[in-house]
Protein backbone atom coordinates (compact mmCIF):
# COMPACT_ATOMS: atom_id res chain seq x y z
CA UNK A 1 0.00 0.00 0.00
CA UNK A 2 1.26 3.43 -0.84
CA UNK A 3 1.58 6.23 1.71
CA UNK A 4 -1.57 7.83 0.32
CA UNK A 5 -3.64 4.65 0.63
CA UNK A 6 -2.40 4.10 4.19
CA UNK A 7 -3.18 7.72 5.08
CA UNK A 8 -6.69 7.39 3.68
CA UNK A 9 -7.25 4.16 5.62
CA UNK A 10 -6.27 5.88 8.90
CA UNK A 11 -8.41 8.88 7.97
CA UNK A 12 -11.38 6.63 7.24
CA UNK A 13 -10.98 4.91 10.61
CA UNK A 14 -10.86 8.26 12.42
CA UNK A 15 -13.86 9.71 10.62
CA UNK A 16 -15.80 6.51 11.32
CA UNK A 17 -14.94 6.79 15.02
CA UNK A 18 -16.06 10.42 15.03
CA UNK A 19 -19.28 9.45 13.29
CA UNK A 20 -20.05 6.69 15.78
CA UNK A 21 -19.28 8.85 18.82
CA UNK A 22 -21.50 11.76 17.97
CA UNK A 23 -21.95 12.67 21.61
CA UNK A 24 -18.31 13.74 21.62
CA UNK A 25 -18.75 15.87 18.52
CA UNK A 26 -21.77 17.57 20.04
CA UNK A 27 -19.92 18.22 23.29
CA UNK A 28 -16.97 19.90 21.56
CA UNK A 29 -19.34 21.93 19.38
CA UNK A 30 -21.34 23.07 22.41
CA UNK A 31 -18.10 24.06 24.10
CA UNK A 32 -17.16 26.20 21.08
CA UNK A 33 -20.58 27.84 21.04
CA UNK A 34 -20.38 28.54 24.77
CA UNK A 35 -17.01 30.26 24.42
CA UNK A 36 -18.47 32.43 21.62
CA UNK A 37 -21.31 33.44 23.92
CA UNK A 38 -18.83 34.24 26.69
CA UNK A 39 -16.82 36.43 24.29
CA UNK A 40 -19.95 38.33 23.36
CA UNK A 41 -20.70 38.96 27.05
CA UNK A 42 -17.12 40.06 27.65
CA UNK A 43 -17.11 42.39 24.62
CA UNK A 44 -20.56 43.83 25.27
CA UNK A 45 -22.39 41.96 22.51
CA UNK A 46 -23.29 43.69 19.26
CA UNK A 47 -21.67 47.01 18.55
CA UNK A 48 -18.63 48.24 16.70
CA UNK A 49 -16.15 46.56 19.04
CA UNK A 50 -17.82 43.15 18.62
CA UNK A 51 -17.89 43.58 14.83
CA UNK A 52 -14.21 44.51 14.72
CA UNK A 53 -13.20 41.59 16.90
CA UNK A 54 -15.46 38.93 15.31
CA UNK A 55 -12.56 37.35 13.37
CA UNK A 56 -10.48 37.07 16.53
CA UNK A 57 -13.35 35.60 18.55
CA UNK A 58 -14.03 32.97 15.89
CA UNK A 59 -10.41 31.82 15.93
CA UNK A 60 -10.17 31.82 19.73
CA UNK A 61 -13.32 29.70 19.93
CA UNK A 62 -11.87 27.32 17.33
CA UNK A 63 -8.52 27.20 19.15
CA UNK A 64 -10.09 26.44 22.54
CA UNK A 65 -12.39 23.81 21.01
CA UNK A 66 -9.44 22.34 19.11
CA UNK A 67 -7.49 21.55 22.30
CA UNK A 68 -10.46 19.46 23.47
CA UNK A 69 -10.88 17.77 20.07
CA UNK A 70 -7.15 17.03 19.69
CA UNK A 71 -6.75 15.64 23.19
CA UNK A 72 -9.89 13.54 22.67
CA UNK A 73 -8.59 12.14 19.36
CA UNK A 74 -5.61 10.60 21.16
CA UNK A 75 -7.38 9.72 24.39
CA UNK A 76 -9.36 7.13 22.44
CA UNK A 77 -6.09 5.73 21.04
CA UNK A 78 -4.34 5.50 24.40
CA UNK A 79 -7.34 3.87 26.05
CA UNK A 80 -7.06 0.07 25.81
CA UNK A 81 -3.64 0.50 24.15
CA UNK A 82 -5.20 1.00 20.72
CA UNK A 83 -2.18 3.00 19.62
CA UNK A 84 0.12 0.02 20.28
CA UNK A 85 -2.01 -1.99 17.90
CA UNK A 86 -1.84 0.71 15.24
CA UNK A 87 1.94 0.93 15.51
CA UNK A 88 2.25 -2.86 15.14
CA UNK A 89 0.37 -2.76 11.83
CA UNK A 90 2.54 -2.54 8.71
CA UNK A 91 1.72 1.15 8.35
CA UNK A 92 4.28 3.92 7.94
CA UNK A 93 4.25 6.27 10.99
CA UNK A 94 3.94 9.23 8.61
CA UNK A 95 0.70 7.74 7.28
CA UNK A 96 -0.61 7.45 10.85
CA UNK A 97 0.27 11.10 11.42
CA UNK A 98 -1.20 12.44 8.17
CA UNK A 99 -4.34 10.35 8.60
CA UNK A 100 -4.92 11.58 12.13
CA UNK A 101 -4.01 15.18 11.30
CA UNK A 102 -6.38 15.16 8.32
CA UNK A 103 -9.07 13.64 10.52
CA UNK A 104 -8.60 16.40 13.09
CA UNK A 105 -8.61 19.04 10.34
CA UNK A 106 -11.86 17.63 9.00
CA UNK A 107 -13.42 17.52 12.47
CA UNK A 108 -12.47 21.14 13.18
CA UNK A 109 -13.64 22.26 9.73
CA UNK A 110 -17.03 20.75 10.51
CA UNK A 111 -16.98 22.75 13.80
CA UNK A 112 -16.10 25.91 11.91
CA UNK A 113 -19.00 25.36 9.50
CA UNK A 114 -21.26 25.94 12.51
CA UNK A 115 -19.13 28.39 14.50
CA UNK A 116 -18.36 30.82 11.62
CA UNK A 117 -22.01 31.64 10.73
CA UNK A 118 -22.87 31.84 14.44
CA UNK A 119 -19.99 34.29 15.04
CA UNK A 120 -21.12 36.45 12.11
CA UNK A 121 -24.68 36.42 13.43
CA UNK A 122 -23.79 37.00 17.10
CA UNK A 123 -21.50 39.96 16.52
CA UNK A 124 -23.40 41.50 13.60
CA UNK A 125 -20.45 41.13 11.21
CA UNK A 126 -20.82 40.95 7.43
CA UNK A 127 -18.68 39.16 4.86
CA UNK A 128 -17.46 42.00 2.62
CA UNK A 129 -14.79 39.92 0.85
CA UNK A 130 -15.27 36.67 -1.05
CA UNK A 131 -16.66 33.55 0.61
CA UNK A 132 -14.05 31.52 -1.21
CA UNK A 133 -11.31 33.43 0.61
CA UNK A 134 -13.06 32.92 3.95
CA UNK A 135 -13.14 29.18 3.29
CA UNK A 136 -9.47 29.22 2.27
CA UNK A 137 -8.57 30.94 5.57
CA UNK A 138 -10.61 28.41 7.55
CA UNK A 139 -9.02 25.42 5.78
CA UNK A 140 -5.42 26.66 5.97
CA UNK A 141 -5.78 28.09 9.49
CA UNK A 142 -7.36 24.93 10.87
CA UNK A 143 -4.68 22.83 9.17
CA UNK A 144 -2.14 25.04 10.97
CA UNK A 145 -3.79 24.26 14.33
CA UNK A 146 -4.31 20.57 13.66
CA UNK A 147 -0.80 19.89 12.25
CA UNK A 148 1.32 20.64 15.33
CA UNK A 149 -1.70 19.90 17.57
CA UNK A 150 -1.86 16.26 16.44
CA UNK A 151 1.83 15.69 17.21
CA UNK A 152 1.64 17.33 20.62
CA UNK A 153 -1.60 15.53 21.47
CA UNK A 154 0.18 12.25 20.68
CA UNK A 155 2.89 13.24 23.16
CA UNK A 156 0.73 14.63 25.94
CA UNK A 157 -1.91 11.88 25.79
CA UNK A 158 0.58 9.60 27.53
CA UNK A 159 2.07 12.14 29.94
CA UNK A 160 0.98 12.94 33.45
CA UNK A 161 -0.90 16.23 33.61
CA UNK A 162 -1.89 16.04 29.94
CA UNK A 163 -4.75 18.52 30.27
CA UNK A 164 -2.34 21.28 31.26
CA UNK A 165 0.45 20.28 28.91
CA UNK A 166 -1.29 20.33 25.53
CA UNK A 167 -2.31 24.02 25.61
CA UNK A 168 1.03 24.92 27.21
CA UNK A 169 2.97 23.36 24.33
CA UNK A 170 0.54 24.18 21.54
CA UNK A 171 -0.45 27.80 22.16
CA UNK A 172 3.01 29.37 21.77
CA UNK A 173 3.61 27.26 18.65
CA UNK A 174 0.54 28.32 16.78
CA UNK A 175 0.85 32.06 17.43
CA UNK A 176 2.08 32.78 13.86
CA UNK A 177 -0.81 30.74 12.44
CA UNK A 178 -3.28 32.51 14.73
CA UNK A 179 -1.98 35.97 13.78
CA UNK A 180 -2.23 35.19 10.05
CA UNK A 181 -5.66 33.55 10.34
CA UNK A 182 -7.15 36.34 12.47
CA UNK A 183 -5.71 39.13 10.31
CA UNK A 184 -6.88 37.43 7.11
CA UNK A 185 -10.35 36.59 8.40
CA UNK A 186 -10.80 40.15 9.68
CA UNK A 187 -9.83 41.46 6.22
CA UNK A 188 -12.37 39.17 4.55
CA UNK A 189 -15.08 40.27 7.01
CA UNK A 190 -14.36 44.01 6.88
CA UNK A 191 -13.29 44.35 3.26
CA UNK A 192 -9.81 44.27 1.81
CA UNK A 193 -9.23 47.29 -0.46
CA UNK A 194 -5.44 46.84 -0.44
CA UNK A 195 -5.56 43.14 -1.38
CA UNK A 196 -3.49 42.10 1.64
CA UNK A 197 -5.44 38.88 2.29
CA UNK A 198 -3.41 36.87 -0.23
CA UNK A 199 -0.20 37.64 1.70
CA UNK A 200 -1.75 36.18 4.86
CA UNK A 201 -2.88 33.13 2.89
CA UNK A 202 0.71 32.65 1.73
CA UNK A 203 1.98 32.97 5.33
CA UNK A 204 -0.53 30.31 6.41
CA UNK A 205 0.47 28.01 3.55
CA UNK A 206 4.17 28.34 4.49
CA UNK A 207 3.55 27.51 8.15
CA UNK A 208 1.26 24.61 7.23
CA UNK A 209 3.98 23.19 4.99
CA UNK A 210 6.60 23.62 7.72
CA UNK A 211 4.55 22.08 10.53
CA UNK A 212 3.06 19.21 8.55
CA UNK A 213 6.39 18.09 7.11
CA UNK A 214 8.34 18.46 10.39
CA UNK A 215 5.63 16.72 12.43
CA UNK A 216 5.25 13.95 9.81
CA UNK A 217 8.97 13.24 10.13
CA UNK A 218 8.98 13.27 13.95
CA UNK A 219 5.75 11.38 14.61
CA UNK A 220 7.34 7.94 14.26
CA UNK A 221 9.80 8.72 17.07
CA UNK A 222 6.96 9.88 19.32
CA UNK A 223 4.76 6.79 18.99
CA UNK A 224 7.73 4.43 19.34
CA UNK A 225 8.80 5.91 22.67
Amino acid sequence: MSLLQQTLAVLRKDLLLDWRAQGRTTAVLLFGLTTLLLFSFAAGGRGSSGRDLAGGFLWLALLLASTLALAESFRVEVEDEALEGLVLLPVRPAALYFGKALGNTGFLLAMSAVLAPVTIGLFGATVRGSYLQLIAFLVLGIAGLAGPGTLHAAITARARGRDVLLPLLLFPLIVPVLVAAVSGTTLVLQGDPMGRATTWLAVLAIFDGLYWSACGLLFGKVVDA
Binding site: P148, L151, H152, I155, T156, R158, A159, R160, G161, R162, L165, L168, L169, F171, P172, L173, V175, P176, L210, Y211, A214, C215, L218, K221, V222, D224, A225
Partner: protein
Amino acid sequence: MSAAYLSLLGVLIPLLALAGLGLLASKFKAWGSRQEAALLAIALLCLVTGLTAGLFATPPETKMREVMRILYVHVPTAWNALVFATVALIAAIGSLSNKRRSWDATNTAAIEVGLVFVVMLLIQGSIWGKATWDSFWEWDPRLTTTAIMGVSFAGVLSLRSFADGGDRKRVWTAVASIIAYIDVPIVYFVVDLAPGIHQERSSPGTVSDEFHWPLRAVAFGLLFLGSWLVLKRGRLELLTTEAEAEAPAADGPALVAGGE
Protein backbone atom coordinates in the same frame (compact mmCIF):
# COMPACT_ATOMS: atom_id res chain seq x y z
CA MET B 1 22.89 45.01 3.37
CA SER B 2 25.00 42.12 2.08
CA ALA B 3 28.06 43.44 3.92
CA ALA B 4 26.04 43.52 7.13
CA TYR B 5 24.92 39.94 6.59
CA LEU B 6 28.46 38.79 5.84
CA SER B 7 29.90 40.42 8.95
CA LEU B 8 27.07 38.96 11.00
CA LEU B 9 27.85 35.51 9.68
CA GLY B 10 31.46 36.24 10.63
CA VAL B 11 30.33 36.61 14.23
CA LEU B 12 27.73 33.85 14.33
CA ILE B 13 29.69 31.08 12.62
CA PRO B 14 32.68 31.16 15.02
CA LEU B 15 30.28 31.42 17.95
CA LEU B 16 28.33 28.41 16.75
CA ALA B 17 31.46 26.46 15.92
CA LEU B 18 32.86 27.10 19.37
CA ALA B 19 29.65 26.21 21.12
CA GLY B 20 29.18 23.17 18.93
CA LEU B 21 32.69 21.80 19.22
CA GLY B 22 33.01 22.53 22.91
CA LEU B 23 29.72 21.04 23.97
CA LEU B 24 28.31 18.54 21.53
CA ALA B 25 31.43 16.50 20.96
CA SER B 26 32.07 16.51 24.68
CA LYS B 27 31.54 13.54 26.82
CA PHE B 28 30.61 15.29 30.00
CA LYS B 29 32.75 13.02 32.09
CA ALA B 30 35.85 13.83 30.07
CA TRP B 31 35.81 17.41 31.32
CA GLY B 32 37.98 17.75 34.41
CA SER B 33 37.14 20.25 37.12
CA ARG B 34 40.32 22.16 36.22
CA GLN B 35 39.25 22.64 32.59
CA GLU B 36 35.84 23.74 33.75
CA ALA B 37 37.36 26.23 36.17
CA ALA B 38 39.51 27.56 33.32
CA LEU B 39 36.40 27.98 31.13
CA LEU B 40 34.67 29.92 33.90
CA ALA B 41 37.76 32.05 34.48
CA ILE B 42 37.98 32.99 30.78
CA ALA B 43 34.25 33.76 30.81
CA LEU B 44 34.57 36.09 33.79
CA LEU B 45 37.70 37.72 32.34
CA CYS B 46 35.88 38.46 29.06
CA LEU B 47 32.83 39.77 30.90
CA VAL B 48 34.80 42.01 33.26
CA THR B 49 36.96 43.51 30.47
CA GLY B 50 34.06 43.91 28.08
CA LEU B 51 31.74 45.47 30.62
CA THR B 52 34.41 47.77 32.08
CA ALA B 53 35.26 48.96 28.57
CA GLY B 54 31.58 49.34 27.73
CA LEU B 55 30.84 51.35 30.85
CA PHE B 56 33.93 53.57 31.04
CA ALA B 57 36.20 53.43 27.98
CA THR B 58 33.82 53.85 25.06
CA PRO B 59 32.04 57.08 24.06
CA PRO B 60 28.27 57.40 24.66
CA GLU B 61 25.87 57.16 21.72
CA THR B 62 24.67 60.39 20.07
CA LYS B 63 20.90 59.98 20.59
CA MET B 64 20.45 57.73 23.62
CA ARG B 65 23.58 58.98 25.44
CA GLU B 66 24.53 56.84 28.47
CA VAL B 67 21.38 54.70 28.34
CA MET B 68 22.73 53.03 25.22
CA ARG B 69 25.40 51.25 27.27
CA ILE B 70 22.90 48.52 28.07
CA LEU B 71 23.57 47.46 24.46
CA TYR B 72 26.74 45.77 25.69
CA VAL B 73 24.76 43.20 27.66
CA HIS B 74 21.47 43.19 25.72
CA VAL B 75 22.81 42.34 22.26
CA PRO B 76 25.27 39.63 23.40
CA THR B 77 22.48 38.09 25.52
CA ALA B 78 20.26 37.96 22.44
CA TRP B 79 23.00 36.37 20.32
CA ASN B 80 23.69 33.76 22.97
CA ALA B 81 20.00 32.96 23.49
CA LEU B 82 19.83 32.07 19.78
CA VAL B 83 23.15 30.20 19.95
CA PHE B 84 22.02 27.99 22.84
CA ALA B 85 18.66 27.39 21.17
CA THR B 86 20.65 26.17 18.15
CA VAL B 87 22.85 23.98 20.36
CA ALA B 88 19.63 22.48 21.76
CA LEU B 89 18.35 21.84 18.22
CA ILE B 90 21.57 20.08 17.16
CA ALA B 91 21.62 18.04 20.38
CA ALA B 92 17.93 17.15 19.88
CA ILE B 93 18.61 15.85 16.36
CA GLY B 94 21.61 13.93 17.71
CA SER B 95 19.59 12.52 20.59
CA LEU B 96 16.86 11.30 18.21
CA SER B 97 19.31 9.71 15.80
CA ASN B 98 21.76 7.93 18.09
CA LYS B 99 19.97 7.71 21.45
CA ARG B 100 23.02 8.63 23.51
CA ARG B 101 22.12 9.97 26.93
CA SER B 102 24.76 12.70 26.69
CA TRP B 103 22.96 14.23 23.68
CA ASP B 104 19.76 14.24 25.70
CA ALA B 105 21.55 15.89 28.62
CA THR B 106 23.03 18.54 26.30
CA ASN B 107 19.59 19.12 24.77
CA THR B 108 17.96 19.72 28.16
CA ALA B 109 20.81 21.81 29.54
CA ALA B 110 20.93 24.00 26.41
CA ILE B 111 17.17 24.60 26.53
CA GLU B 112 17.49 25.58 30.20
CA VAL B 113 20.41 27.94 29.60
CA GLY B 114 18.62 29.32 26.52
CA LEU B 115 15.55 30.03 28.66
CA VAL B 116 17.71 31.83 31.25
CA PHE B 117 19.17 33.99 28.46
CA VAL B 118 15.70 34.76 27.06
CA VAL B 119 14.44 35.81 30.50
CA MET B 120 17.54 38.00 30.99
CA LEU B 121 16.95 39.42 27.50
CA LEU B 122 13.35 40.36 28.26
CA ILE B 123 14.29 41.97 31.58
CA GLN B 124 17.13 44.00 29.98
CA GLY B 125 14.84 44.94 27.10
CA SER B 126 12.17 46.16 29.54
CA ILE B 127 14.70 48.35 31.34
CA TRP B 128 15.95 49.77 28.03
CA GLY B 129 12.37 50.19 26.81
CA LYS B 130 11.36 52.10 29.94
CA ALA B 131 14.29 54.47 29.42
CA THR B 132 13.79 55.10 25.68
CA TRP B 133 10.13 54.30 24.85
CA ASP B 134 8.80 55.11 28.33
CA SER B 135 7.12 51.72 28.66
CA PHE B 136 8.26 48.35 29.93
CA TRP B 137 6.49 46.40 27.21
CA GLU B 138 5.31 47.09 23.66
CA TRP B 139 3.50 44.61 21.40
CA ASP B 140 6.27 44.88 18.85
CA PRO B 141 6.85 41.76 16.65
CA ARG B 142 10.45 41.33 17.91
CA LEU B 143 9.39 41.49 21.56
CA THR B 144 6.37 39.26 21.05
CA THR B 145 8.23 36.53 19.16
CA THR B 146 11.00 36.57 21.79
CA ALA B 147 8.47 36.14 24.58
CA ILE B 148 6.90 33.25 22.62
CA MET B 149 10.35 31.67 22.31
CA GLY B 150 10.73 31.81 26.09
CA VAL B 151 7.29 30.30 26.71
CA SER B 152 7.92 27.46 24.26
CA PHE B 153 11.29 26.63 25.91
CA ALA B 154 9.52 26.59 29.28
CA GLY B 155 6.91 24.28 27.69
CA VAL B 156 9.63 21.84 26.62
CA LEU B 157 11.01 21.75 30.17
CA SER B 158 7.62 21.21 31.78
CA LEU B 159 6.84 18.45 29.27
CA ARG B 160 10.09 16.79 30.30
CA SER B 161 9.13 16.99 33.95
CA PHE B 162 5.79 15.31 33.19
CA ALA B 163 7.26 12.41 31.17
CA ASP B 164 7.62 8.99 32.79
CA GLY B 165 10.42 6.68 31.80
CA GLY B 166 13.86 7.48 30.43
CA ASP B 167 13.20 6.90 26.75
CA ARG B 168 9.99 8.95 26.63
CA LYS B 169 11.80 11.76 28.40
CA ARG B 170 14.55 11.72 25.79
CA VAL B 171 12.30 11.48 22.73
CA TRP B 172 9.69 13.97 23.88
CA THR B 173 12.26 16.56 24.92
CA ALA B 174 14.00 16.23 21.56
CA VAL B 175 10.80 16.38 19.48
CA ALA B 176 9.41 19.35 21.42
CA SER B 177 12.78 21.16 21.15
CA ILE B 178 12.87 20.70 17.37
CA ILE B 179 9.31 21.97 16.94
CA ALA B 180 9.91 24.90 19.34
CA TYR B 181 12.97 25.88 17.27
CA ILE B 182 10.69 26.99 14.42
CA ASP B 183 10.26 30.28 16.34
CA VAL B 184 14.01 30.98 16.47
CA PRO B 185 14.52 32.05 12.81
CA ILE B 186 11.34 34.11 13.16
CA VAL B 187 12.83 35.99 16.12
CA TYR B 188 15.97 36.60 14.09
CA PHE B 189 14.38 37.76 10.84
CA VAL B 190 11.25 39.46 12.18
CA VAL B 191 12.97 42.88 12.23
CA ASP B 192 13.26 42.65 8.42
CA LEU B 193 9.87 41.04 7.74
CA ALA B 194 7.70 43.09 10.11
CA PRO B 195 9.63 46.14 11.33
CA GLY B 196 8.17 47.60 14.52
CA ILE B 197 9.41 49.79 17.34
CA HIS B 198 12.45 47.58 18.04
CA GLN B 199 15.58 48.89 16.35
CA GLU B 200 17.27 47.01 13.55
CA ARG B 201 19.50 44.04 14.25
CA SER B 202 22.86 45.04 15.77
CA SER B 203 25.86 43.79 13.83
CA PRO B 204 29.28 45.22 12.94
CA GLY B 205 27.59 46.80 9.92
CA THR B 206 24.97 48.70 11.92
CA VAL B 207 26.98 49.68 15.01
CA SER B 208 29.83 52.23 15.22
CA ASP B 209 33.38 50.81 15.21
CA GLU B 210 34.04 52.08 18.75
CA PHE B 211 31.34 49.78 20.13
CA HIS B 212 32.59 46.60 18.45
CA TRP B 213 35.19 45.11 20.74
CA PRO B 214 33.36 45.47 24.08
CA LEU B 215 30.35 43.85 22.38
CA ARG B 216 32.51 40.97 21.16
CA ALA B 217 34.19 40.54 24.55
CA VAL B 218 30.86 40.36 26.38
CA ALA B 219 29.46 38.03 23.70
CA PHE B 220 32.32 35.57 24.17
CA GLY B 221 32.10 36.00 27.95
CA LEU B 222 28.42 35.05 27.93
CA LEU B 223 29.12 32.22 25.47
CA PHE B 224 31.74 30.73 27.78
CA LEU B 225 29.60 31.33 30.87
CA GLY B 226 26.63 29.67 29.15
CA SER B 227 28.81 26.77 28.00
CA TRP B 228 30.06 26.33 31.55
CA LEU B 229 26.46 26.25 32.78
CA VAL B 230 25.51 23.73 30.07
CA LEU B 231 28.42 21.52 31.14
CA LYS B 232 27.46 21.64 34.80
CA ARG B 233 23.73 21.25 34.21
CA GLY B 234 24.24 18.64 31.50
CA ARG B 235 26.41 16.48 33.74
CA LEU B 236 23.83 16.68 36.52
CA GLU B 237 21.08 15.68 34.08
CA LEU B 238 23.21 12.82 32.71
CA LEU B 239 23.87 11.48 36.21
CA THR B 240 20.17 11.79 37.10
CA THR B 241 18.95 9.89 34.03
CA GLU B 242 21.62 7.22 34.53
CA ALA B 243 20.65 6.79 38.16
CA GLU B 244 16.97 6.56 37.19
CA ALA B 245 17.76 3.93 34.54
CA GLU B 246 19.77 1.81 36.97
CA ALA B 247 17.32 2.06 39.86
CA PRO B 248 15.35 -1.14 40.54
CA ALA B 249 11.79 -1.25 39.25
CA ALA B 250 9.46 0.48 41.67
CA ASP B 251 6.69 -2.12 41.36
CA GLY B 252 8.86 -5.06 42.43
CA PRO B 253 8.82 -6.34 46.01
CA ALA B 254 10.84 -4.21 48.39
CA LEU B 255 12.25 -7.23 50.27
CA VAL B 256 13.49 -10.06 48.10
CA ALA B 257 13.80 -13.57 49.58
CA GLY B 258 17.06 -15.50 49.18
CA GLY B 259 20.64 -15.07 50.33
CA GLU B 260 22.61 -17.10 52.86
